[in-house]
């Protein structure tokens, strides 16, 4: 199973990107995770741009999603909601609506924040947006609050309870993804 990881934070030392790396180590043995890191290059969504050539970063994102069996989003929370650049990327992904690569794609949303709540409101909003765009959003949540205290220097989660929650959430995601041996994945 190929999982595409998308972090909603652009910051170099992002806790959400660390959360993706932590997930990489906790995936079931038959799964692998690839982190898509071109979020910053995605231009603002503009219907006029849909008439011309697709922006490179958008094509890259769509191909990455199309080639993945499942997607793992890790989102921070900006003003009680999804970061604009991540929402913008999902808006591009959702087009054209009738044939979006998100349709039926299993998606897990997790999140980390420096505050106590672990981006739970941003996670809820991202789930709503993804479901509206046609994704198969799995019912699982991992909320990493007080993020600066939850990661080791190498990026692993140091909180056993959170690690267990992440393992379980990834299992729920894996159960929703189509069975495809990695060796046969193209």
């Amino acid at each position: 199973m190929r999982v595409l990881g998308i972090s909603g934070s652009l910051r170099r030392d992002s806790y959400n990107t660390k959360l993706l790396r932590a997930a990489e180590e906790l995936l079931p043995p038959f799964a692998e995770l690839e982190i898509w890191d071109e979020l910053k290059a995605v231009p603002p969504f503009d219907e006029d741009e849909e008439l011309g050539p697709t922006p490179e970063a958008v094509s890259s994102l769509r191909e990455a999603v199309a080639g993945a069996d499942a997607i793992l989003f890790a989102t921070p929370e900006y003003n009680a909601s999804v970061p604009g650049q991540l929402k913008n990327a999902v808006d591009w992904l959702s087009r054209p609506v009738a044939t979006t690569v998100l349709r039926g794609k299993p998606a897990l949303v997790v999140g980390a924040s420096t505050g106590a709540f672990g981006a739970v409101w941003a996670q809820a909003e991202l789930r709503k947006v993804l479901a509206s765009a046609g994704a198969r959003v799995v019912e699982a949540e991992v909320a990493v609050g007080h993020a600066p205290t939850k990661f080791a220097e190498q990026g692993a989660l140091v909180d056993d309870e959170l690690s267990e929650q992440l393992v379980e959430a990834l299992e729920v995601l894996a159960a929703e993804a189509p069975v495809r041996p990695l060796a046969l994945a193209v």
């Binding site: 609506v97 009738a98 044939t99 979006t100 349709r103 039926g104 479901a131 046609g134 994704a135 198969r136």
Partner: protein, 178 residues
Amino acid sequence: MAVLTETRTALPAGTWILDPVHSTIGFELPYLAGTFRGHFTDVDAKLSAGSLAGSARVASVDVKDENLAAHLQSPEFFDVERHPELTFAARSIERSGDELEVDGEITIRGTTKPVELAGTIGDPFTDGFGRDRVNVKLETTVDRTQFGLNWNMPLPNGQPALQNEVKLVAELYFVQEA
């Protein structure tokens, strides 16, 4: 000359196959200020030996906007990938003159529930091509949330955008099997 006064209670004999071009199997429900309607174009049904059964392909859902059709096929609604078909099978059919009452089971999104339909049946007639036809119209109302179709969106006034009670409407035109 004898006057026919008895009320017919039997269904027409033989096997009758749905004419999908002239039939409509659809749904309607209150949405915002109006009524949202849709139907399925790829459908089949059979009426024979006092029984009625049919199915519809979710991928053929037809509404007035392809984006809406895509949304209806997504996991938020019918989830065509996991549940490509809707099916109905009658358990009993009672006829009194033109009136029909049908008890059966309907399967939507993989969930099967009992359902009672009411409607009418016409007299068999021969069409311009020499084929015998009979018309059946049936309706019922189901709660879509019982089948896992839970999508909604609160309006600014706090009311849900989409009602849960959905009217299912079937106008079935059958042709007698040759």
